[in-house]
Amino acid sequence: MNSAQIEIQLIASLVAIACAIPGTFLVLRKMAMISDAISHSILPGIVIGFFITQDLNSPLLILLAAFTGIITVVLVEYIQKTGLVKEDTAIGLVFPALFSIGVILIAKNANDVHLDVDAVLLGELAFAPFDRLFIGGTDVGPKSLWIIGSILITTIGLLLAFFKELKLSTFDKGLAASLGFSPAIIHYGLMSVASVTTVGAFDAVGAILVVALMIAPAATAYLLTTDLKKMLGLAIGFGVLSAISGYWFAHWLDASIAGSITTMLGFIFLIVFLFAPSKGIIAVMYREKQQRTEVSLLTFLLHLKNHTEERERHVNHLQEHINWQKVRAKTVLDLALKNNMIVFNKNIVSLTEKGDTFTSKAIDYIITNEDAQIEDMKEDFFLFRG
């Protein structure tokens, strides 16, 4: 590993952390698509800023571009407030229009502007170490490292200072407003941080990767925990992990680093999406199947309780009466037997004492319909789950 490689990985990791922090809040506030809109609509800001400063790394350009990001948010909110279209349509209308303006501005001034739309959207991390910052003639490192580093420090500072306010306004807007925290300030503050991060990172990693780095780690973390601090930590972890593994993957394939980091993010998300302990697809499907069997069991027990006459409880009759397929009926009967809810006596099924109590309580539950109760009840009665 040479120093350029270390620097690239360092920049990528810092970008990942800087994106994961606002990204977590965007995902929790259901505003993930806003980050996509911002990442596109900063283009005209960057172009105009470039006309003025002639330097892609100047702080003025970053502020100007970030300002376009804020304008996007304001415009979207204004259009939404008129009630003419829904919020998502408003987002979908604003950013392509602004992006088009940016593309046209570049195309019309192609001769004077050494700026490429591809570069804005995709970035080129591999070149980042070559653009170095000199202070008093000494080389102090790549420019983008300094830019993203200062953005990250500001973001962390703001996060520590306003963590309580952010947390409150994210989960209970009404309470936050009534306690005197202006929702508007927090909202636009978050939007500003997201814009500045997007602009600061686009040069290194491109606008699209910024979106991926904001949303994907946070979404992945959200599938694993519901604790805000843990979620932030996990999101940062996933971001850095995919930044570094993505770099080496790109190195091996000799392809775009930004694309490769995104692919790693996607890979991690897919794994978590499938295998997350309680919210992954497999866990959800397993739980659904379990609940289906248990509901069937309950129906079966209720039927037994309702009919004291032996004819109704004969195995053959039950088969036609409830009309379950054989496999399903077997699962339910096995479950009932295992849990000591029923007994067989010459092909007549009857409830045990325990089965009887359970069924009575279950009826109570069905009448009052308190969601929490049935799970407790299952805990109390079941030796084996469905």
């Binding site: 995902v27 259901k30 505003m31 993930a32 698509m33 996509d36 596109h40 259009i79 003419l84 279209v85 829904k86 998502d88 349509t89 987002i91 979908g92 209308l93 392509p96 229009a97 992006f99 088009s100 303006i101 593309v103 046209i104 195309a107 019309k108 192609a110 739309v117 591809d118 959207l121 699209i208 990767l209 979106v211 991926a212 904001m214 949303i215 994907a216 946070a218 979404a219 959200y222 599938l223 790109a250 394939l253 000799d254 392809a255 775009s256 930004a258 694309g259 490769s260 980091i261 995104t262 692919t263 993010l265 996607g266 998300f269 999406f273 919210k279 992954g280 697809i281 959800v284 499907m285």
Partner: protein, 375 residues
């Protein structure tokens, strides 16, 4: 180049004719299907799908090694559909919200697509150049067979739309009711979504991955402002879309260095802004005018009521009072006073006013019954 000359050129010049026709058809079909996307609150789905189509293009190229438009578009279609159904899976099976799912799939697929594109660029295959036109689109690369493909797909879309019109409409406005009526909502849903994906994929070559969502949304959002009927909206959206295509092509053709995609999007955006402002029933301008009118109306009523309370204290209701008396009251303006005279509710004599019988009666009934006549 003046307009007549340009129109003549459209009919004679092969390239210009192909592009104009292509963008017009594209605008029409996306406008048509976009109406459904907008009304189903799936506006951003188009954005996600168009980005998600990118890896499909790259993979199709990697497999076939040729740059045949149709195979690439099939790849885009497959990957767009995978993206769409994954989004749906995320929304229904986990607690992640739709915006997160959309942003996630959009950026992840696009990033993966970029990885493949850069990987392809390093391959020793002379064919690989020009794949990146799918990023921003290049209308200039349209050839006649592409336009035929678009026309055929549009025809199929139209046919399916007419065939399943009733089902689409009812699913759009009352999904639960549709289910109780026994329609296979899942099938209708998949059908309409697949056609939206198809329309997006068709546009990739012309407008590109990044701007395709605007083609879907803008005509529909503009059309929505002019009507409350679905059929009119779909028709209008198709017209707006087609005109965006034609005008956009014309503007970009008449200038140097203007790529067609962004210009078409901006023309469509102009349609949207115009509709937002000038639509008679929903537009901002007329809304504001109605608002001012209502306020004036209210002020007129307030003045009349105030006059009534003064006149009430006199035996003769037509007893003149000084206009000055009204001055300490906010609702009074010269115009409203004039209007009262016009309506024969009051008479003015120099600096004095007096209520007429009609005015007195109207004022007395002002708050007891609703006035049927407006104004």
């Amino acid at each position: 180049m003046d307009i007549t000359e340009y129109i003549k050129l459209v009919f004679t010049d092969y390239t210009l004719r192909t592009i104009t026709l292509g963008t017009a058809i594209l605008g029409a079909v996306t406008g048509m299907l976009g109406s459904f996307a907008v009304l189903r609150k799936q506006s951003l789905l188009g954005d996600a799908i168009s980005h998600a189509a990118l890896p499909g293009i790259a993979i199709a190229f990697l497999i076939t090694g040729a740059k045949d438009t149709n195979t690439l578009l099939i790849g885009a279609l497959v990957s767009g559909l995978i993206g769409t159904f994954w989004i749906r899976g995320i929304i229904t099976k986990t607690h992640l919200k739709s915006d997160t799912a959309l942003g996630l799939i959009l950026s992840l697929f696009f990033g993966f697509g970029m990885l493949l594109l850069t990987f392809i660029q390093k391959q020793p295959n002379a064919n690989q150049a020009g794949l990146d036109k799918y990023l921003f689109g290049q209308a200039a690369t349209l050839v006649e067979s592409d336009v035929w493909l678009m026309a055929i797909v549009t025809g199929v879309c139209l046919l399916v739309l007419l065939l399943f019109w009733k089902e689409f409409k009812i699913l759009l406005f009352d999904a639960d009711y549709t289910k109780t009526l026994g329609f296979n909502t899942r099938f209708i849903d998949v059908l309409i979504t697949s056609f939206i994906v198809l329309a997006i994929v068709l546009g990739l070559q012309t407008v590109g991955v990044v701007l395709m969502s605007a083609m879907l949304l803008a005509p529909a959002a503009a059309a929505r402002q002019w009507t409350n009927s679905l059929s009119t909206m779909v028709f209008l959206a198709a017209i707006f879309g087609a005109f965006s295509g034609v005008f956009g092509t014309a503007i970009s053709a008449s200038q140097n260095n203007l790529s067609t995609g962004p210009v078409i999007v901006l023309v469509a955006a102009v349609f949207v802004v115009f509709s937002f402002i000038f639509s008679p029933s929903r537009g901002l301008l007329f809304k504001q005018i109605r608002f001012i009118k209502n306020r004036r109306d209210l002020e007129l009523h307030k003045t009349l009521a105030f006059m009534y309370h003064i006149a009430e204290t006199h035996e003769n209701i037509s007893h003149p009072h000084a206009i000055k008396l009204l001055n300490n009251f906010q609702g009074f303006t010269k115009k409203t006073l004039q209007k009262l005279v016009e309506k024969n509710y009051a008479t003015i004599d120099g600096s004095m006013w007096s209520l007429t019988d009609l005015g007195f009666e109207t004022a007395a009934n002002l708050y007891t019954k609703q006035s049927t006549e407006d104004e």
